[in-house]
Symmetry: C2
Subunit: 191 residues, 2 copies
């Protein structure tokens, strides 16, 4: 039996990332769950921010942003980045920062995976500013890539150990693998 | 040490949902990882589809869609829905379907959480069609809501038991809770 929950946007699990942008020439990072994939080819991702957020200024200024995926050992600093604004606190020293091809999207060395993105579309709805980015380059700590049969293979999710969030305001880690994409359906297919 | 991965949109974990739309008057469902939250208030979500997908036709036709969050016991049928097109296979009988306020966004009774959405913005980039929906109503199986101190509280993520996906083409379940939102940062904050 269903019951109504109002208009809560209850899509879960929520990936937790650190969005990065240079704001007035200095790296700034904000904790985001409003982010995700929009396509593989072209490689598209989005971040959705409040139009008054400090990071928003930097993305508009440069037309670039980064997405940095923290692992659970970075939980405390990741949560912290979501509780203070770059307007009040200089977050540029919290991490070792590097830049890639765009030159203006600051990335976090301590995060195992980093995306640098160029804004290819943006729009606003109410106070929300959504930036769609095309991925210019993806970076990963080299220990999470292995060579298998001449192909480079990225480590599984438990090794990347991301932070999961949900609207119960709890953080979680990833559990065990339960299946393989495009294979599990074969168990279902009517004969 | 970082290594380059090309332009892979490596944001993870990826939430797996079943997107729903009426296509030519019949419910159709497709498996999606390109979906997520864009805001809480207003309540905004998005789905990103190939412009030629059968479901895309239905969303354009009605201006509505649904997001249904399957739990791990629905893994086989969820994977199956991503391997066949509604053009070739009638998926309307795979689930018990119900409708809400919009009347045209088919929802899946077997999924613990359902969102019915009205399209408030859309855009295309290359072959991708992105629909941003405002949530008209969220539904949840009533056993996952309890009353605590006069407030309705939704069950935690392990009880909702969603399917997680990642670009290693594996499905995962959620692991244990590791912290509380807006609290873990206090352990980090410099004194």
């Amino acid at each position: 039996m269903k019951t109504k929950l109002g208009t809560t946007p209850f899509i879960y699990p929520i990936p937790i990332v650190l969005g990065g942008a240079n704001v007035h020439g200095r790296p700034n990072f904000c904790t985001l769950g409003d982010c995700g994939i929009m396509g593989l080819n072209p490689s598209l991702v989005y971040v959705s921010l409040h139009r008054d957020h400090y990071t928003t200024e930097g993305i508009v200024e440069n037309g670039t942003f980064s997405v940095n995926v923290p692992s659970t050992d970075l939980l405390a600093v990741t949560d912290y980045c979501g509780t203070v604004s770059g307007r009040d606190v200089d977050k540029s020293g919290l991490f070792v920062v590097f830049y890639g091809e765009t030159g203006t999207a600051p990335m976090i060395d301590e995060c195992r995976v980093n995306l640098e993105c160029r804004v290819v579309h943006e729009f606003s709805i109410a106070h929300r500013q959504v930036f769609v980015g095309q991925v210019a380059q993806t970076y990963i700590d080299e220990q999470y890539v292995t060579e298998q049969d001449g192909r480079r293979v990225v480590a599984g999710l438990p090794d990347l150990d991301p932070i999961i969030y949900a609207l119960d305001n709890r953080y979680y880690r990833v559990g065990p693998a339960i299946g393989v994409g495009y294979q599990e359906g074969k168990k279902y297919r009517p004969q």
